[in-house]
């Protein structure tokens, strides 16, 4: 039987399929799927009319925000909906409630909101308002765009000059994943595929350490965020340079987080910490592509045996990263992602998550560092941005994601965790360890 095609806008690229497979994995755990968020804390109430106008303009320029993600045959597509949904939502706290609680609970309820994949809006903007506190939250589903794309959408909203906004765009030709793949001849793709598979086999020789209490069923995402002072941030930046040099900034956070986890329970079962991180295919400072995923996954892995030695750990992570680039393993994942996009979501998810050797979870935690959030100014519709943090749903296990960014010379750490596999108290203790590690001379 033929499936309808006239409402199809576009097909997902291999990188979108990779995030869609994770969406399915999370949904299979009776959780909401791969919802992500960027939150801006504001010093006062912004100009709401101007926000609504800018969001309206954004929707007109990028109508894919109104699309519905649907399966047709074996593949997934963005399809037209009969009716457009609202992009902007305004939440006002009743006078009687505690402002901090209201903001946190509203963000949590939005990130934990369950809705069928076909009907959930790919992207929404929420202004959460109470006396003395304002939060602007952008929530999106990961198959729709990656964190860099979300960063660019925020940048679009914050750009006051209409001509400058016209520079934000979509890929002119193919998605960047496909453009990179097109550079290789078929036999080179096969060699890259084999290389990537061999690399994963090698990673899978060590069983990953998982701290989540997997005897419990996942119930909801929670998060704790911590913004460090400019002085602390400056010290961490200096220590980062000292320990990993110019070429591995994120690896300092990864190494410190691994050591902090190890301190929580040095006897935790497993041989190594392993975390995936994204390799972005966009050029830095490029304002395009805005939508779609344009990343490939890489892995940082450190055996338990070297965690006690900070210098050896950072050296190991740096060396691993250098080898990954030297052997072009970053690009080697592209054919693997392309091939996996033909699998069922269940098979794709299994390949992404589980060790080929032991069948257990490969990731000890998820990690993302978006570096310096580069908005044209620190103001947002006539008010100031005081803090930025990002959020994401996670599969269980690992049930833990460590996300970082810097804004206005301040580092913000966002710990996202699935309850009851982790508790808030455990995360607070973990953060103390992380801070100690980050600031250790």
């Amino acid at each position: 039987m033929n499936t309808p095609t006239e409402d199809i806008i576009q097909m997902l690229n291999p990188s979108d399929c990779f995030t869609l497979a994770m969406d399915e994995e999370i949904r299979q755990e009776q959780m909401p799927g791969s919802q992500c968020g960027f939150a801006l804390e504001l010093s006062s109430t912004p100009d709401i009319t101007a926000i609504e106008q800018r969001i309206h303009e954004f929707g007109e320029r990028f109508p894919l925000v109104f699309a519905s993600l649907q399966q047709r045959g074996k593949r997934f597509f963005w399809c037209k909906r009969e009716q457009q949904h609202p992009l902007f939502h305004h939440h006002i706290a009743p006078d009687t409630v505690n402002a901090a609680d209201f903001h946190k609970q509203t963000v949590l309820s939005l990130l934990n909101h369950r809705q069928a994949r076909e009907t959930i809006p790919p992207l929404e903007f929420h202004l959460i308002q109470s006396t003395g506190k304002n939060t602007f939250l952008m929530r999106w589903i990961h198959p729709f765009c990656d964190a860099k794309g979300a960063d660019l959408i925020l940048k679009y909203l914050c750009t006051d000059d209409a001509e400058q906004r016209l520079r934000f765009d979509l890929p002119k030709l193919e998605p960047l994943v496909n453009q990179q793949l097109d550079k290789y001849k078929w036999w080179q793709k096969v060699l890259l595929f084999i290389k990537a598979k061999r690399h994963i086999t090698q990673l899978d020789t060590l069983q990953s350490i998982i701290h989540a209490d997997t005897s419990k069923a996942p119930k909801q995402l929670n998060f704790n965020t911590y913004t460090l002072s400019p002085e602390q941030t400056q010290s961490i930046n200096k220590l980062t340079r000292q320990h990993v040099g110019l070429t591995g900034t994120s690896l300092y956070y990864v190494g410190c987080f691994m050591r902090a986890l190890h301190k929580m329970n040095p006897e935790q079962a497993g041989d190594a910490y392993c975390t995936p991180y994204a390799f972005n295919l966009r050029r830095n400072k490029a304002l395009s592509p805005l939508l779609g995923n344009h990343v490939a996954p890489l892995f940082a892995q450190a055996p338990k045996a070297i965690l006690h030695d900070r210098a050896a750990l950072f050296q190991h992570l740096k060396q691993q990263n250098a080898n990954t680039l030297r052997e072009k393993l970053d690009y080697a994942f592209l054919p693997l992602m392309w091939a996996a996009s033909w699998l069922s979501l269940e098979q794709h998810g299994q390949k992404l998550r589980t060790s080929m050797r032991t069948g257990t979870e490969r990731s000890s935690f998820w990690f993302s560092d978006i570096g310096n959030v580069d908005l044209s100014s620190a103001s947002f519709f006539k008010t100031d941005i005081t803090k930025i943090y990002h959020l994401c749903q996670i599969s269980s296990p690992p049930a833990l994601a460590f996300l970082s960014c810097q804004f206005n010379q301040q580092l913000t750490l966002s710990y996202n965790f699935i309850e009851p596999l982790f508790s808030e108290e455990w995360i607070e203790a973990l953060h103390k360890n992380v801070l100690e590690e980050l600031l250790l001379e």
Partner: protein, 78 residues
């Protein structure tokens, strides 16, 4: 050499609206060359020009512009 490095940086690593106006002394770090980009650039230079650039010399002073990059590579090419 400088031209090949320019092409690689502007095609693969950073977006500059008018690359022809980007001088050999302009700051690449300010233009968006980040830690991952520097690593990728070093691997490319090593492959392309048959040099080994020591880790200990990966310093902002050596990678900040096309001119400093060229000088750094030339020091090791002999």
């Amino acid at each position: 050499m400088k031209q090949k490095i320019r092409e690689f940086i502007f095609n693969e690593l950073i977006f500059v609206a008018e690359p022809e106006k980007f001088s050999d002394d302009d700051d690449l770090l300010e233009a968006g060359l980040d830690s991952m980009g520097i690593m990728r650039l070093i691997m490319h230079i090593e492959d392309q020009f048959g040099v080994t650039l020591p880790d200990s010399e990966i310093d902002p002073d050596n990678v900040k512009s096309f001119n400093t990059l060229e000088q750094w590579v030339l020091q090791h090419q002999a």
